[in-house]
Structure formats: C-alpha cells, structure tokens
Amino acid sequence: MSPTLNDYLLVSGLLFAIGFAGVLLRRNIIIIFMCLELMLNAANLSLVAFSRFNVGPNGLPNYNGQVFVFFIITVAAAEVAVGLAIIVALYRSRQTTHVEDINSLKF
C-alpha cells in the first residue's frame, strides 16, 4: 500500500519535533541554527504533502503550496546568510558560540 497523507504529516511532525527539541536542548548556537533549518524543512514537507493531496479540477496538484515552499526556501537561504554573519560577528567580539556565555541581556 502506498503512504497516506497522515504518514507524511507524521514524518513532518516528528522532524519538526526533533528540530524543536534541538533548539531547546542544545547550547551551541550553530547547532541551534541547524535545528531551525530542520524545522523549516519539516513545515515544507507538510506543505508539499497537502499540495499533492489536493488535486484540483485540472488533475494537477494545488501548486499554491509548492509556490509557498519555494518562497520559504528563498527566505530561509537569506536567513541563513544573515544569521551566520551575525554568529561570526558575535564570535569576533565574544570568542564563544555557547549561548550560556552570552548573557549580557539576561535578567
């Protein structure tokens, strides 16, 4: 039997949970950033699954979801570039990528 929509949603949700756990549990800022990417990709997978599930009257998938994923990939690429530049600037001034060492704003 072929996989159903729920299978894809389960995989997507589990991937999101893994990324979520990584953001909450890890203390290395670069790995937190990677886990953010993982969460974005999990959302992409569920969007594409919904797009494929809703076959329109012309017999093709609903491409609105895929266009949305296209934009998410673009924005994520821009976000990675800016975020890594910020991390490099942070490393220059503090010599650390550990979030517990960066606590100037901590109450």
């Binding site: 990324g19 990417e37 997978l45 990528t97």
Partner: protein, 217 residues
C-alpha cells in the same frame, strides 16, 4: 510513492535529524543535516514535487550547508566540552518536545480524512492538427508528443484549422511538468511576492556585507 521507499527515506530523514541534535561535534551535525535534507528531497520526489526536490538539494544540501561548514571551519569549532548539565533545562525542553509529539499523534490519529491515499494525477492535453489515437508503437504517423497520451482506438484523424481536442488523461508521476506550473504561478499570481523576495535577497546580501566588515560602527 512505493511504500518501502517512503518508509526508508522517512527513517533516513528522521534518524539523521536525531543525529544533528545528539552529535557533539558540529561538523558531524552538519553532515548529518546534509543527509537528512537528501532524505527529505527523496520524500518530495515521492510527492511528485520534482522542482522542489531539486531546489532542496541545490539550495539546502548545496549552498546552505556549505555555508554552515564554512563558518564552522572559520570559527574553528571543536567538539563541545562537557559542561555541567542543566537538568532543569533539559527536562523542561524534553518535556515540551515530547508534549508536542503526543499532541501530534493525537491530532493525526483523530484525522480520518488524512487516511486516504493521494489521488492520481491527470493532465489536460490539447491537440491541434494531427491526432493519432493509436498505441504508442505505431508512433510514426504523427508527431511524437501527440501520440503518447491517447491510448485508445487505433486511428488517425486530421483536425480542421482551429479545431482542438481536449482530453483529460491519467499521467504518470514523472510526466508532470511542475516547473511550468510553478513558474506560471510565480510569474502571474505570485509576481508581487516574487519581487519582494528579490528585494529581501538584496537586503540580506547588503546586510551580510555590513555585518562582516572588520569594524562595526
């Protein structure tokens, strides 16, 4: 998608996703993330989203991960030294993540609409000029792009000028031209967001250059 392949790539994606979280060495984490993205691209192929699968590999596994590895190399990050565990933080984070998983399983198990299979794809094909409706083997009577998609009776008809035949035919997954469909959407309905994304990329480029100057003023 053939089910064993789906489960294989799903397991690959999830296992290497866990690898990203549990690895102490940032380089190993980044390489795990590359494999996880590859598995995700395979899942997208299974959903007939070929353009996005290729973009996933090119943009994420290519560009973004090269950037990550480059920064890890630039900062010369080693495996994280073991620190005092913040048990409260770990328990809290794990609890929230597990709560999310529980909620996910609850929602999905109460979603009978999602238990249906993915509907088959069809294509709307317009023919002009010669229409050959025979089997594919006798394709020499008409241009090849009009012969493939109409496997009915074996006869050739000449259509008049301006006359069209429109057929809804089932189409195999690999024959979907999703590049054209997504391109049409992007340049018609989503043209304005596309321009905004272009500006966003420009702004992020300028921002990165300013952020990585030697002295931040």
């Amino acid at each position: 998608m053939f089910s064993p392949l789906f489960w294989f790539f799903a397991a690959l994606t999830l296992a290497f996703g866990i690898g990203v979280v549990v690895n102490r060495n940032p380089v190993a984490s980044a390489l795990c993330l590359v494999i996880s993205f590859m598995g995700l691209a395979a899942l997208l192929v299974g959903l007939d989203a070929y353009l996005l699968a290729v973009l996933q590999v090119l943009v994420y596994a290519g560009a973004v991960m090269v950037l990550f590895l480059f920064i890890i190399m630039l900062l010369d990050l080693r495996a994280e030294a073991r620190r005092k565990f913040n048990w409260l933080g770990i328990a809290g984070g794990g609890l929230v993540a597990l709560g999310f998983v529980g909620e996910l399983v609850f929602v999905i198990s109460h979603n009978p609409a999602g238990n249906q299979k993915f509907p088959p794809l069809q294509a709307r094909v317009e023919f002009e000029g010669f229409v050959h409706t025979g089997p594919i083997e006798s394709a020499d009577l008409a241009p090849p792009e009009t012969t493939i998609l109409l496997p009915k009776t074996s006869e050739t008809a000449k259509l008049g000028a301006g006359e069209k035949v429109v057929e809804i035919v089932p189409v195999a997954g690999g024959k979907i031209d999703d590049v054209r469909e997504i391109g049409r959407e992007i340049f018609t309905n989503y043209n304005y967001p596309l321009q905004i994304v272009g500006v966003l990329l420009l702004v992020s480029t300028v921002g990165v250059i300013i952020l990585s100057r030697r002295e931040l003023k």
